[in-house]
């Protein structure tokens, strides 16, 4: 009879509405396999591992697990730590100490890289360890996979938010700027395009980080839409950039004085209204007089920064996203235990095998195919630098699920 080994599971990076589905999927699958001993939930990801701060999960009641699965945000706690080799060495030592043979890590590309380093170190040290990364990010920017668990629900939130905000703007006209999460990738901002049913619906303009942001062009776009409709709803990524040749600089960084830099050297963009306020002022200052003259009334300009609601609002969950996140947890354990295609370690990825009906298939992929690098929004989806096309919408609709259908009188 084989000796039992323990499993560690952790969550990392920005939470999503369905990250706990993956956690619960993995825990339930781990419980099905007799070769797995304890299931150790690491508090706050890798930090919990090196501190020996674990929660035993094998006896967690089924009804609590189900409630956890429905709850947004990382139930085990998350971390922004990005381990270097020395840190990973400590992880490996903790795994030896706690007799850990399986490590499941739910996170984005940085977490996949942590998984890769730990896995390679274990191989070198001759420690039998199967490491599986479970993809998670509202940014949808992981390579190899068709899309990422967490994206569909965040996309659903921003699409619904824009529907409501467009109705609000239709009722009290003006220019409305909504700032959406996504430092490097415009995927989430693109999802706001799903809010539209007809040609007068907002968002009327959409700006993503993958395309140069030019203020004159932006003002020209706003002028054009406002002159036509008497109003203008704009979705803009927090990560929009000025580009010149190879150089790119964040609009938000240029306008922010001070501000915070995270462990990855990135300036904090979320949790501040600075970009929205800057763009609002720009419109007021540069277009206020002209647009007032065109339409009679005083130009009303507002900006909202959606912030953390996008990733943590309860009850706004895409059914497909929740089911896929759960299944990713199951599959990660299955792959870790069976090493399909010789992959003792790897990441779970999704392939779209049918469009109508929408159907995906999961497969294991090497950690090097997911770690570090990211996948930007395909600029083929972007129209004239300020809109998103039907090709993207076809890709995204099944991910966010059926949306609300507004009724209109004007």
């Amino acid at each position: 009879m084989a000796t039992k080994v323990n499993a560690v599971i952790g969550q990392s990076g920005g939470p999503t509405a369905v990250i706990n589905q993956s956690l619960v999927g993995a825990v339930l699958e781990l419980k099905r396999h007799p070769q797995v001993g304890s299931i150790l939930g690491a508090r706050h990801g890798v930090r919990g591992i090196i501190n020996g701060d674990f929660i035993p999960l094998e006896n967690t009641p089924a009804d609590l697990l189900e409630r956890v699965a429905q709850t947004p945000s990382a139930a085990l706690g998350s971390t922004r730590d990005k381990p270097d080799e020395a840190y990973c060495q400590k992880i490996l030592e903790a795994f030896k100490k706690h007799n850990v043979g399986y490590f499941l890590y739910i996170g984005g590309n940085d977490s996949a890289d942590t998984a890769r380093i730990v896995s390679e170190m274990a191989d070198k040290a001759g420690h039998a360890l199967h490491v599986y990364h479970i993809p998670k990010t509202i940014d949808n920017d992981l390579r190899t996979t068709d899309h990422c668990p967490g994206y569909g629900s965040a996309g659903r939130f921003v699409a619904l938010a824009l529907m409501g905000d467009d109705a609000d703007n239709r009722s009290l006209k003006g220019v409305k700027i909504d700032v959406i999460m996504g430092r490097d990738a415009g995927w989430l901002t693109a999802a706001t395009a799903l809010a539209r049913y007809d040609s007068t619906d907002g968002p009327h303009l959409i700006y993503v980080p993958e395309v140069n942001f030019n203020e004159d062009q932006f003002l020209g776009d706003v002028d054009r839409v406002y002159t036509k409709l008497g109003r203008c709803v704009i979705a803009v990524s927090e990560g929009i950039r000025y580009r010149a040749g190879d150089k790119a600089s964040l609009v938000a960084e240029r306008i922010m004085t001070g501000g915070e830099v995270d462990a990855h050297g990135n300036k904090q963009l979320s949790g501040t209204g600075a970009l929205g306020d800057y763009l609002g002022e720009l419109v007021k200052t540069k277009l206020g007089v002209a647009l007032q003259a065109k339409t009679g009334g005083k130009l009303r300009v507002r900006a909202d920064t959606f912030g953390y609601l996008q990733r943590s609002f309860p009850t706004i969950v895409s059914p497909a996203d929740a089911a896929e996140a759960r299944l990713c947890g199951h599959k990660a354990v299955e792959y870790a235990l069976t090493s399909p295609q010789g992959l003792a370690s790897g990441s779970v990825a999704m392939k779209r095998i049918s469009e109508a009906p929408y159907k995906i298939e999961m497969f294991p992929t090497a950690l090097t195919n997911v770690a570090r690098l990211t996948k930007p929004l395909d600029t083929g989806f972007v129209v004239k630098g300020c809109d998103i096309n039907e090709t993207y919408l076809k890709y995204a609709r099944p991910l966010v699920g059926e949306l609300f259908r507004p009724g209109r009188l004007i």
Copy 2:
């Protein structure tokens, strides 16, 4: 046989998630009465009336009306116009011209005042006009009524938002500041207290406009909570004020350079992240070093301003609120047609007649009981200037409906 007269219905002020329920309730009730001729929807409230800009509603298909009822934001368009006597004179002239005998106006205290002026002018001019105000405001600040249609759904949104945000903060610890709508009244901010299930749940601190905002006290509160829990979630009204004797000044106004003033002479507070960013900076600057020393890690401070999502997000609707808003529309028409208690004109109000089960009764009240003045949050609900007590929670629970129950592992 009595001659038919026409009815005008309009919507005013900031939209809510259920303002169209009242519209649809009134339209359906108007259609039941043979003495009513055309049902004229005024585009953008009083502005549509003086411009003769009406949408005939008597033949609107039932399924479209139902979709409209489910859609947030004012389906007829809204207005911020606050009519003076001359403006009201034009309204009356339009009513004469279009043979209008019933005027239903959905809005807050300013709209009730418009209704009052128009009603009094009509009486003086000998024009037979029944004017009924239908209450609507996420601010919950109308006098006479137990609560206002629109409040329950907005309260539901902010309570759910805080639940999600608290889970997010539990997962990635730090100080989080959420700025909630409510220039003068703390009712909506108070509703964030519904997000809590146990003593470690956020929001840990709640600040409303009715109580003096003292920065030293605020910093002391944050220090206390953070030292105890290693994190702190704060809900703060956009309308918090510094008070000294009889004088009060908005914190947001003091820190904002420039900014916009509306038709009522109020500075625009929503649609900007300035207050949240200011409070975040205050915490970082004044407490950063001390709190870092206490807890080891770098102090993480974020601020989100919920903005228009609070009043216009589709699908987040309190069932009781939707039903009451619909019934208010029906009742307004019933009262306008029957002049109960001799009130040919008035406003619809609600009285709570039972707590368990929750039950309300509608009644007509004079426009003077609702117009102009507002009802602040009872400061008896406020604890130590930074929290909300159980008495408020009992009042509010049936209004927002059953909330999400999170599952937790840490």
